[in-house]
């Protein structure tokens, strides 16, 4: 089982509904977010191109955060999901420094917090909150080992990229381009 997500940059309108859904579902502390929306504008007028991406933890196969964690609090869980065990985390911030995507932050209670791929929902057969709520249906979540999952199917027929592949992290969030 290898959980992955695909985000269609051609369909995303940058409404930030995914961000609010995540904050509500996961009771994210006020002033923090586990996912966010980036808008990138290339070129000069009138040749402008816009790309909009909903970003979050990449749940990398080769996670620098898991590697550098001195206590084993950051670990791989079901389907390669990267999680943090609260009562093992000492709040040293090493994982925050190690993440090329700046996907982690220190929770006001002291431990490190991040996207969990909504594993509590996924285990019940539901989609992660951000995917479920997306009004343009631009996000696909599923198991890459399952040939019938929506994410496997869409990655077969579309071009895609991952962020900073040169960092060697083997990320699992794919951006359809």
């Amino acid at each position: 089982m290898r959980y992955a997500m695909a985000v269609d940059t051609k369909k995303c309108v940058g409404c930030s509904d995914c961000v609010v859904a995540c904050q509500t579902e996961n009771d994210v502390s006020i002033g923090y977010c586990r996912d966010w929306v980036v808008e990138i504008n290339h070129g000069t007028y009138p040749q402008l191109e816009t790309e909009i991406r909903s970003e979050r933890c990449n749940h990398c196969d080769n996670s620098p955060c898991v590697r550098c964690c001195p206590t084993g609090a950051s670990h791989y869980s079901d389907g390669g999901t990267v999680l943090v065990t609260k009562n093992k985390c000492i709040g040293c911030s090493a994982c925050i420094e190690s993440c090329p995507y700046d996907a982690r932050y220190t929770h006001p209670d002291g431990y490190v917090d991040k996207c969990t791929f909504c594993l509590h929902r996924v285990k019940k057969g539901m989609q992660p909150a951000c995917v479920a709520v997306c009004p343009t249906k631009c996000m696909y979540f599923g198991d890459l080992d399952d040939p019938n999952s929506s994410v496997t199917k869409v990655l077969k027929i579309r071009n895609y990229k991952v962020l900073a592949p040169e960092a060697g992290t083997k990320p699992n969030i794919y951006f359809l381009i």
Binding site: G14, S16, V19, G31, Y32, C33, D35, W36, V37, V38, E39, I40, N41, H42, G43, T44, I52, P64, R67, C68, C69, P70, T71, G72, A73, N87, K88, C89, I90, G91, C92, S93, A94, I96, E97, S98, C99, P100, D102, R104, Y105, T106, D109, G110, Y111, L163, A164, E166, A167, G168
Partner: protein
Amino acid sequence: MKEELIVSGRMNAKIDPVLHAWGWEISVYLFLGGLAAGLLFFAGVYYLLGKAKKYPTAVRKAPVLVPIILALGLFALFLDLHHKPYFWRLYTTVKLQSPMSWGAWTLMVVTPISMIWAAINIREWLPNWDWKFQWAKDIEKFFVGYKKHMAWLMVIFGVILGIYTGILLSAFNARPLWNTSILGPLFLTSGLSAGSALIMLISKSKKERKVFAQIDLILIGIELFFIVHMFMGFMASTQVQQEAAQLFLGGHLTAQFWIFVVVLGLLVPAALEIMELRKIHIPVLVPVALILFGSFMLRWLITYGGQLSRYLY
């Protein structure tokens, strides 16, 4: 033109607008750890070379300060932790892939040894020291018999402690400014230089001061070579590292780096030490203070600057 905006308005504390998860606490610890490593290394080496009588400050007097320096450094580290009640979790795991884990275990070895070495040499500072209890005297006597073993551990773990402060940062490939293996040797050299400077300050013997001034001059030379080497590596590397190096080569930390680290922290004290060796008297506090200041600024600017450097995508 390329413009990138987080349109959902992310403003996670210490992550946005620029990463600043590690502040002064880490720089202070890296500096004090390096200084302690330097003192332990020289104490061990000169003890093993049988020069305890010739260089009493390096072998006996200066290392008494190490437990205090380490305690201050560890306190700074503790302040940096955000989930403090769980700090003991460091000692329920050994994670070889994590430099911070083996740093924690190194400190677990170095701290008690430095305490024992300080205890058996405490009379260097307090000549009338009396352990009062017979059992304490027995323990002291026991450890005096193992000085040679301890000296070996001090040399080996001194080097590991000194080099680890650099490796801790260089293991993060997400921060291109840190991601250079030269950082380990550079911080080790800088720590040894800080150690030799402190020995010079404490020492009352002219001969010992002269030797450590000479050692320090060599270390400063090596440090300058490593710094040049580091920038050569960056300039020959990928775009992210070239941009990271720009922070110090025209970017907004340029003045701080070249003035505080290179000129005031290395070149000026080297010149003053050369003058002293040529018999032009310079108050020893001046070069020593400059070296310690430069050593701290190197860590501070690398820690701070590293968090400004990142992958672009």
